[in-house]
């Protein structure tokens, strides 16, 4: 077991070292941490509630005095609080749907890659078929037919995004299977289970982490897209996409209602993408040749 923990440690260290070695990625990490902390601490930071309406301040611009730091919307709700609560939903959906796709994708890809042969062909053919589906539309249909259920969003989005993960994991497993250290382990009588556990998974980890980081923003994007169309989360809950939709309607009279949620959404997506890119440069085995 010591082996595994050491590997995890070293992988983590490599990633952190390379992320922190660049000012840009350090900034992105810090920015993301701030966004996450803000959304968590939302109730402590403002006297307003997510759906409390302040009839004295309808569609007012940002102000410190009224404690509407980001202003209010056309029914007097506080944009600051709504943005942070909306962020909770967006981030939550992002994380959980990514986990769904991670589990399905890794499972599917690793089995196909390690089994090889006919099983592999069949499983990947299925992925190909799924790839050609206009999935976004099906997700929208699901939302329309079965109501706007947040749980359904997790499942739907996760079910769409696992395809990429499966392809990547399968490709990696396949190439790993023929690597000489795996062959050496087979020659050394190590069982299949231990080969997967000790040799394949630790070497897959880097790639998987990278794609998880890149999947989260995609999922957030899908969720906000649905919410933007009015098919995502429902009142009184909100999310960045829903807020941007509301804001777009008011953008001529109260542009701050569009600006702040959009800023938070874009900044979060930007940070995730940026960190994902940085991690890929550090961890992706294809690029590691340039390291030495």
């Amino acid at each position: 077991m010591t082996g595994v923990s050491q590997q995890g440690h070293s992988l983590f260290r490599i990633a952190m070292r390379s992320l922190l070695s660049s000012k840009a990625t350090t900034t992105a990490l810090a920015l993301m941490a701030i966004v996450v902390l803000l959304t968590l601490a939302a109730p402590l930071l403002s006297p307003w509630d997510i759906d409390s309406t302040d009839w004295d301040n309808v569609a007012t611009s940002p102000s410190i005095e009224t404690a509407h730091y980001f202003g209010t919307d056309d029914v007097g709700r506080d944009i600051f609080v709504r943005t942070l609560y909306g962020g909770r939903i967006s981030l939550l959906v992002g994380l959980s749907a990514t986990m769904v796709s991670l589990v399905i994708g890794v499972f599917w890809g690793a089995i196909a890659g390690y089994a090889g042969g006919r099983t592999d062909q069949l499983m990947m053919r299925f992925v190909d078929v799924m790839y050609a589906m206009p999935f976004m539309f099906f997700v929208i249909l699901l939302m329309v037919f079965f109501g706007r259920n947040i749980f359904l969003i997790f499942v739907a989005v996760g079910a769409v995004n696992w395809l990429d993960m499966a392809r990547i994991v399968r490709g990696q497993t396949l190439s790993m299977k023929h690597r000489e250290f795996v062959e050496a382990a087979r020659a050394g009588g190590v069982s299949n289970l231990n080969i997967i556990r000790r040799h394949i998974i630790p070497n897959l980890l880097g790639v998987v982490i990278v794609y998880v980081t890149l999947t989260i923003p995609q999922v957030i994007l899908v969720e906000s897209f649905l919410s933007f169309l009015g098919l995502g989360v429902q009142e009184p809950m909100t999310s960045w996409g829903a807020l941007v939709n509301d804001g777009a309607a008011l953008m001529e009279s109260a542009p701050w209602t569009l600006f702040f949620p959009a800023l938070f959404l874009a900044a979060t997506l930007f940070c995730f993408n940026f960190i994902g890119d940085g991690l890929r440069d550090a961890l992706d085995p294809r690029d590691s040749a340039g390291e030495s």
């Binding site: 206009p134 249909l141 994007l221 777009a248 997506l269 930007f270 993408n273 890119d277």
Partner: protein, 304 residues
């Protein structure tokens, strides 16, 4: 070539079938039948309606019928637009969407490849960083944020272009840009990455050792291999542009298929929504097929 075409054609059949089955199943399991909204109907009328719409047949027969109609381009009647069939609606909406989408795609490819190549040639310079940060922003800012912003800046504030509707080319400018921007950003990043890899390769070193100029190397040696990843991205790009058009048509008030789709979804116009999904599904499958052929044609190492 022919062999490949035939092979891919048969390969597309299961994909299409899955698409149809999914669509059909969704229609059938969707809560509520088509006539629920109507006033309480007598059992007799209900039965007659069911018979008229073949709802009394076994499921597999209905599916075959649905398939048969689909093959003839008949998607059934629209529920919400009483006097129209879904096919008619698609026929009105699609040309508009097609114009918008293909313009956006063209713009995305040209601008994306040009920007990406430029960044790759100036790798690790200030130009590169600025361009790539912009591209990263482009990838990160969703269409539905860009579109209102464009309206705010260019239509409301500067009043350079109209905020939407149909008309001359000026009406198209903002929607096309809004639709293309994320794709430009993505294609630029893709091109930069692959171009850098190509420029590092041994055969480019050979070309440099042969005294070919930068321009000759770029156009004769590097461009073709560098745009291969862009070509294989065209399939997903089409899907993304179609999805994006849903938002863009909504925001700019363009009466295209995307707008019909959203309206249909909100009105619970099942047949319309389903029809559009199937229509786009087939379109994407066909497009992927052409992309595959183009890829194989471009890359001599892949045998047809």
């Amino acid at each position: 070539m022919l062999r490949f075409t035939v092979k891919r054609f048969f390969g597309a059949i299961p994909t299409l079938l899955v698409l149809m089955v999914l669509a059909f199943t969704l229609i059938r399991v969707a809560p509520g039948g088509p006539f629920d909204s109507e006033k309480q109907l007598s059992a007799e009328i209900q039965e007659r309606l069911n018979a008229a719409y073949h709802l009394d047949e076994p499921l597999w027969q209905q599916f075959i019928r649905y398939l048969g109609n689909l093959l003839q381009g008949d998607f059934g009647p629209s529920f919400a637009y009483a006097d129209y069939t879904v096919s008619e609606l698609i026929a009105t909406g699609f040309p508009v969407s097609l114009k918008l989408g293909s313009l956006a795609m063209l713009l995305a490819i040209i601008a994306g490849v040009a920007i990406g190549t430029m960044a790759a040639l100036k790798q690790n310079t200030r130009t590169d960083y600025v361009v790539m940060t912009a591209a990263m922003t482009g990838v990160s800012v969703p269409t539905f944020v860009i579109a209102p912003l464009l309206v705010l800046v260019f239509a409301v504030t500067l009043q350079w272009f109209p905020a939407g509707g149909l008309g001359d080319w000026r009406n198209l400018v903002l929607p096309v840009i809004a639709l293309a921007l994320p794709q430009i950003a993505y294609i630029a990043r893709l091109t930069r990455g692959s171009m850098i890899e190509v420029l590092r390769s041994d055969y480019i070193r050979t070309a440099r050792a042969q005294g070919l100029t930068q321009i000759e190397i770029l156009f004769h040696h590097a461009l073709k291999p560098a745009i291969l990843p862009v070509v294989s991205y065209l399939g997903p790009a089409t899907a993304a542009i179609i999805t994006g058009s849903v938002v863009v048509e909504q925001i700019f008030g363009v009466p295209g298929l995307g707008r019909f789709f959203v309206q249909g979804a909100l009105n619970r116009d099942y047949t319309l929504v389903m029809g559009i999904v199937v229509f786009y599904g087939v379109l994407i499958i066909c497009f992927n097929f052409f992309v595959d052929i183009a890829y194989r044609w471009l890359d001599p190492r892949v045998k047809l």
